[in-house]
């Protein structure tokens, strides 16, 4: 049963109205025949395709492939980004010498590197993982560099005046202060790793969620394609929500 406050909350009502309006608009376009029905299938067809997708074993196999690529990309690209970011943030010299390159390469469309990665890693999941890793590296590195620079100097002075050893400084001051930048960087890196891996799958692959979306598009099974896209967005939103919770738990930058 819905919470009574939700029913009278105008913000909640507005949100529900927006969702209903979008769904109704979609269904009206289907009923009107304004657009070819193969392009705008009915909501029931999409719902049916979604259920069919979730019931099929093929979906979970492809989901595992995408999860492997995105997870690996986060681990390798995010990990290297984390180390590079700490290095750039901790040293003013390194920051002035090398950060401009990271800064300028970050907005480059990473898909342009896919042909190189395909030649280097083959057409299997590793080229997708590599593109995801390249995508994940930059947000993590830049967020960490800013996070390290943002550590309150008072905390560092307190640590030094208490004569904390290097390990104690790391455990008691640096690590707690870096939880939030890591979480924020992880959130950005997750989104970009997912985009990188899935775009690479759509481009050239034989497994993964991007592959089944591309297959459905190729066979003009639009309801099935929309079902896959809905699942991809739901998974991205779920991943974001989990990392977002970590960000909130970490509290404001300290």
């Amino acid at each position: 049963m819905a919470h009574p406050r939700l029913i009278t909350d105008p913000i909640w009502l507005l949100r529900v109205a927006a969702v209903v309006a979008i769904l109704l608009a979609w269904q009206s376009v289907f009923w009107s025949g304004l657009l070819y029905r193969g392009v705008v299938p009915s909501l029931w067809a999409i719902g049916g395709a979604l259920i069919g997708l979730l019931m099929s074993g093929q979906f979970y196999g492809n989901l595992a492939v995408t999860a492997y690529e995105v997870g690996g990309a986060l681990l390798i690209g995010g990990g290297l980004g984390l180390l590079a970011g700490i290095g750039l943030g901790a040293s003013r010299f390194a920051s002035r010498g090398f950060e401009p390159y990271v800064h300028y390469l970050a907005p480059t469309p990473k898909i342009v590197f896919l042909p190189v990665l395909l030649v280097a890693f083959g057409t299997g999941p590793h080229s997708k993982l590599a593109l995801g890793a390249v995508s994940a590296f930059f947000p993590m590195a830049l967020t960490m560099a800013a996070g390290v620079r943002g550590i309150d100097p008072v905390l560092l002075r307190v640590g030094r005046s208490l004569r904390l050893r290097r390990v104690q400084m790391l455990r008691l001051i640096y690590l707690p202060a870096l939880v939030r930048p890591v979480a924020v960087g992880l959130r950005l890196a997750f989104g970009l790793a997912m985009v990188g891996a899935l775009l690479a799958e759509i481009s050239l692959s034989n497994a993964g969620l991007g592959y089944i979306a591309a297959q459905d598009y190729g066979h003009f099974q639009t309801a099935e394609m929309y079902a896959v896209l809905i699942m991809i967005f739901a998974l991205a939103a779920a991943g974001n929500a989990v990392i977002g919770r970590v960000v909130r738990t970490a509290g404001p930058a300290r």
């Binding site: 507005l14 949100r15 927006a18 390159y101 300028y104 898909i111 190189v116 598009y217 991205a236 974001n240």
Partner: protein
């Protein structure tokens, strides 16, 4: 700060950065020359340098560049035309802002570019799909930064406008918009960068002209040196876009 200290702080690090970059390129060339790097996978820097002029003479690079640039600027203009009023609506009606600002922020973090098959079936395989996708990618930062900028306008400025009995339209055009311009400029810069990423990505995937298509075609033909040169060119465009956006942002902050 003494001249020597300034030299050590400001000049030496960028010089070391450039030196390391040149050293890496030199190593790459050396390893390619002795056969330690497969030139088919990673062509030597001199191969890439030789391939660069060929992009202009044989691959019609200016036309590809013009197409990508045109699509990016068109998407940026449409995103501004939709995003600034949408941001204003979120600012003006607080309840709308509370209801949808979080949604727009979530959209900014969502892999929107993956929606391209949907746009492809609606618009077909043409420039409209590329521009529409780029608009969708560019919209969230424009909307969010417009709202942030308008929310941050000092109360005193608005009171002055009201004291002068400005109409709501004049208040928006003469006070709110100029005061929020630097923050809106940041949103437009981010939007343009996201639009460029989306344009090149979709061009690559649907093979419909532009820099993305050129790189994909060179990769398909195994013209690896030209492909690396084209990738370098896209990186330079991104750097140029980024630098130009930063300058415009600084200018807006000063005005």
């Amino acid at each position: 700060m003494s001249n020597a200290a300034r030299w050590r702080e400001r000049v030496v690090p960028p010089l070391v950065g450039i030196g390391v970059l040149l050293a890496l390129i030199g190593l790459w060339q050396y390893f390619a020359d002795i056969g330690a790097i497969n030139r088919f996978v990673a062509p030597a820097p001199d191969d890439i340098a030789r391939a660069l002029p060929e992009l202009f003479t044989e691959e019609n690079l200016p036309a590809s560049f013009a197409q990508s640039l045109g699509e990016t600027l068109a998407a940026g203009a449409i995103a501004a035309a939709i995003g600034i009023p949408a941001g204003w609506a979120l600012h003006r009606r607080r309840i709308v802002g509370f209801a949808f600002e979080g949604w727009v922020a979530n959209l900014a973090a969502a892999p929107l570019v993956l929606l391209y098959p949907l746009f492809l079936v609606v618009f077909g395989r043409n420039a409209a799909t590329i521009i529409a996708m780029a608009v969708v990618s560019a919209l969230p930062p424009v909307i969010l930064k417009t709202k942030e900028g308008l929310d941050g306008v000092r109360r005193a400025l608005i009171d002055v406008g009201r004291g002068l009995r400005l109409s709501p339209r004049a208040l928006f055009l003469r006070i709110l918009l100029p005061a929020a311009a630097p923050v809106i400029g940041t949103g437009l810069r981010l939007g343009l960068i996201l639009a460029l990423i989306s344009v090149v990505g979709i061009e690559y995937l649907i093979h419909f002209g532009g820099m993305g298509d050129l790189i994909a075609a060179l990769g398909d033909r195994f013209e690896v040196a030209r492909m690396f040169a084209a990738i370098g060119f896209v990186v330079l465009i991104s750097v140029g876009f980024h630098a130009l956006g930063e300058q415009v942002e600084k200018w807006l902050t000063r005005v």
